[in-house]
Structure formats: structure tokens, C-alpha cells
């Protein structure tokens, strides 16, 4: 019986311990770049920038006991070294908490970079991506990267 109660107390202690906020994301972004992306047809270069629609990805932060910071980084490939990825927040989402920053594009690299910050719960925070550095010098191929979002 003592063992049983000790286990119960341990579990209750665990369940009441403060923990990092939970983060859920929805929505990947995929683009195909063709001759229709040339600035003005044959003889011109590719449009150097390409943006996703606003809200292509949505983030929900929950179980946040206080303030938090959302960071992002790129992971994996293949990825063209000439191309850079940016992300910005296009909505504040909804919820009991607050949110600030991230309304201008921030480059996402291989290292964590702050996108925005806030406090407590926020649902459906909309994001938009942008690629820069596109040109005919980027070899025809399929490129991809995981975007790892972390809330702390």
C-alpha cells in the first residue's frame, strides 16, 4: 500500500509540474517554378522572390503558463545555396494570451531565430513564407526543407 501511495504522489507531482508550452502546426508549402515565373517571358530571368499565400501554415500554442518565444530553423534538404527562406506572421490568431513581433519577414536559417513572442494560449497564428534568390542559375530540381518551430 505504501508503494502504491508513493507512486500516486509521484504521478500527481509530475502532473502539476510546470512544463514547456505545447505547439501544433498545420500546413506545408509547396511551389513549382516554371517558365510562367519568368519576369517577362523568354529572355528574362525568373522572378527572384516567391511568396506563399498568407496563412499557408498555422501555429497553435497551448498549455503555456506564461510568456514564450517562438523560434524557427531550417533542417534537412536538399536546398539550393542561392535561395533563402523567410517567414512572417500574418495574423495574431486568437486566445487568452498576447502575441507580438514577427510581422516582417525573418530569414530562417539552420540556427534557431526568433519569429515572434507572446504569452499564454494563442490559436491559429497564421504564417507566410517567402523564397528569395531565385534565378535561372538555380538548377532544375526539387528542393525541400523541414521548418522546425520551437516554443519556449
Amino acid at each position: 500500500m505504501k508503494t502504491l501511495f508513493r507512486n500516486i504522489l509521484s504521478l500527481l507531482a509530475l502532473s502539476s509540474t510546470d512544463h514547456a508550452a505545447d505547439l501544433v502546426s498545420n500546413g506545408d508549402w509547396a511551389e513549382t517554378i516554371t517558365a510562367s515565373n519568368l519576369v517577362s517571358g523568354a529572355g528574362s530571368n525568373l522572378q527572384s522572390q516567391l511568396q506563399s499565400m498568407a496563412g499557408v501554415t498555422a501555429l497553435t500554442i497551448s498549455n503555456a503558463p506564461g510568456s514564450w518565444t517562438l523560434r524557427a530553423r531550417r533542417s534537412g534538404g536538399p536546398w539550393s545555396g542561392a535561395v533563402s527562406l523567410f517567414v512572417k506572421r500574418t495574423s495574431a490568431g486568437s486566445g487568452s494570451g498576447s502575441i507580438a513581433g514577427g510581422d516582417s519577414f525573418v530569414e530562417v536559417t539552420g540556427s534557431d531565430v526568433e519569429i515572434f513572442n507572446g504569452s499564454e494560449a494563442r490559436s491559429n497564428v497564421a504564417l507566410q513564407f517567402k523564397l528569395t534568390g531565385l534565378s535561372v542559375g538555380v538548377s532544375p530540381a526539387s528542393y525541400l526543407s523541414s521548418i522546425v518551430f520551437t516554443v519556449q
Binding site: 500500500m1 500516486i8 505547439l23 523568354a42
Partner: protein, 165 residues
């Protein structure tokens, strides 16, 4: 036999486990994927859809004087390497009449010079790689021998193609 103490303990244990479940399933990290595919792009356009050439003069004692036109140009974009521009016409020229084309080479490419066009494609420019350029001159030339006689007016469709070398 029902033991209220053990039942209560089991209930508390279950509640404790359930209270842990959400944080065990979610976490502070989430991942999305960004994918972009660049397709092969090989685009070529010409500055004007038609060119007219007429051979109607000669120096006495010589073959008829060729007609030349260098009023048109082409623009090209390719994101591939080892490309070339070939040229052909939809039907062959009549005997004794030759339609030639010469394309100025874009940067890094090599012009094949003035080449007679037929239904078999010829290499007008070779050695093209990842570029976008405009205003590259196309020079057409129409030549006829005296033996060709009077040839009625005809139209030919010239097809320029960017293709693998």
C-alpha cells in the same frame, strides 16, 4: 472483496495518468515542410513573326543577288546547361533556292554561322548554358541560282528550338 481504499487509490492513479496524457502527446516543437521544384525552362521567342525576302536583281554575268534580312532578333532563357538552338523549315525549298539563317550567339555560346535550312534541323547555336538574353540578331538570306528560274512567292515556317546538345 471491495476495498474502498484500493479503489480510491486506483481512481487517483488513473486520473493522474490521464492528466499527463496531453503534455505527453504534444510538445514544444512542431515541423512543417517547404518544398519548391524548379522545372527545366527553355524559352525562346523572336521579335517579329514574319520576314520577307525577295531575290529580284542580279549583276550581269553573275548569279542573282541574294536577299538578306537582319531586322529580327531572338530572346532566350534557359536554366539548363549544354543546350543548343536548332533551326528547320516546314517544307524544303525548291531546287536552286536556298534559305539560310545565322543566329548571333548569346554569351558563352557559339554561332554556327549561316546555315541552309531544310526539314532536317541544323545546329544554329551551340554551347548554351543557364542564361537569359535578348536582342540576339537573326540574319536570314535567300539565294537563288539562275537555273531556278522564276519561283512563285511562298511562305516557310522557320522553327527554332532550344534542345539538349
Amino acid at each position: 472483496m471491495f476495498n474502498p481504499t484500493k479503489f480510491l487509490a486506483a481512481a487517483i492513479l488513473t486520473a493522474g495518468i490521464l492528466s499527463l496524457s496531453p503534455s505527453a502527446l504534444a510538445g514544444p516543437t512542431a515541423t512543417q515542410t517547404v518544398t519548391y521544384e524548379v522545372t527545366a525552362i527553355n524559352e525562346l521567342t523572336v521579335s517579329a513573326p514574319t520576314v520577307s525576302l525577295t531575290v529580284n536583281a542580279a549583276t550581269a554575268g553573275s548569279a542573282p543577288t541574294s536577299a538578306t534580312d537582319a531586322s529580327t532578333s531572338y530572346a532566350i532563357t534557359t536554366n539548363e546547361s549544354a543546350r543548343k538552338i536548332t533551326g528547320s523549315i516546314n517544307t524544303n525549298m525548291p531546287a536552286g533556292v536556298t534559305l539560310s539563317a545565322s543566329l548571333a550567339a548569346p554569351t558563352g555560346g557559339t554561332s554556327g554561322g549561316a546555315l541552309a535550312l531544310s526539314t532536317t534541323a541544323v545546329d544554329l547555336v551551340t554551347g548554351i548554358a543557364t542564361l537569359n538574353e535578348t536582342g540576339k540578331t537573326i540574319t536570314y538570306s535567300l539565294a537563288a541560282t539562275a537555273a531556278a528560274g522564276v519561283v512563285t512567292s511562298a511562305s516557310k515556317t522557320v522553327t527554332l528550338t532550344v534542345t539538349a546538345q
